[in-house]
Symmetry: C2
Subunit: 162 residues, 2 copies
């Protein structure tokens, strides 16, 4: 029963490792593409700002009616760029930064898993040793009880780490 | 009176030349910036397409609920990119191309103005010659009438070109 539960845990650990690797890969990709998307949006805003300036300069050389129309257009277009600026800041703060934070989170999870794996291996080794002792010397109660005790300690440590 | 009308036309020609130069300068600038704006929009669309792909790939590795949510988001985001594509095509066809066409229009107007200027100079020269003939030989009706006639032909040609 102990061996089966160990095998179960083995499968669980593998599953967790796969999940962490998957998140690491895809969140990294997503973070990069989102950051590129934000940069392109910022560049589009810059070009639009240039356009607003040029339309204003041209408007100044034109007749009053056309001038007014051009100025109005430039003003509305500039407002759109303010929204675009807000979009850039928002994406940066609410999407790119949290995705970046997953870099550290994934690293921490990987360390946790490593510690768990080390504890699990130590436990499996002691279990093998206990069974070997039992087979070799079934009447040696003293050694068997001592092993059993240290194995239980191991389980407790493992459970705490989990 | 003839001299004054010639001076008036001189001022008009200068005004037209200034207007053509102004349009040439500003429409050229506007055309370039609009073209750059369209290019940046197209690049933003490309990045967003990449993002849609990556979100779909990531969705496939996730649990059913999250998968569905991600797929929905990717789908809506892809629709936005369709609108962006329409924006690119529309700006290209309705703004950049017409502004480009002004290159040829400005060139034609400049040629027109040059022809007008040549005609005007010829006219002025003949007017000077006519007055000189009048002062030198007030009684020589034959030469004066012939000059007057050729000057009128000049005016007609100028009016047609205008």
């Amino acid at each position: 029963m102990l061996r089966r539960s160990l095998e179960n845990r083995d499968a669980q650990t593998r599953q967790l490792q796969d999940a962490v690797t998957n998140v690491e890969k895809h969140f990294g990709e997503l973070c990069q593409i989102f950051a590129a998307y934000v940069r392109k949006t910022a560049r589009l805003r810059d070009k639009a700002d240039l356009l607003v300036n040029e339309i204003n300069v041209y408007a100044c050389t034109e007749t009053p009616n056309l001038k007014q129309g051009l100025k109005n257009f430039a003003e509305e277009f500039a407002k759109l760029q303010d929204y675009r600026q807000a979009e850039v800041e928002r994406l940066e703060a609410k999407v790119v930064e949290p995705l970046k934070a997953y870099g550290t989170i994934v690293k921490m999870k990987r360390d946790d898993l490593k510690a768990t794996l080390t504890a699990r291996n130590r436990e499996a080794k002691q279990l093998t040793q206990l069974e070997r002792t039992r087979q070799r010397n079934p009447s040696d109660r003293h050694v068997i009880v001592s092993f059993d005790f240290s194995l239980k300690k191991c389980f407790v440590r493992y459970a705490v780490q989990k």
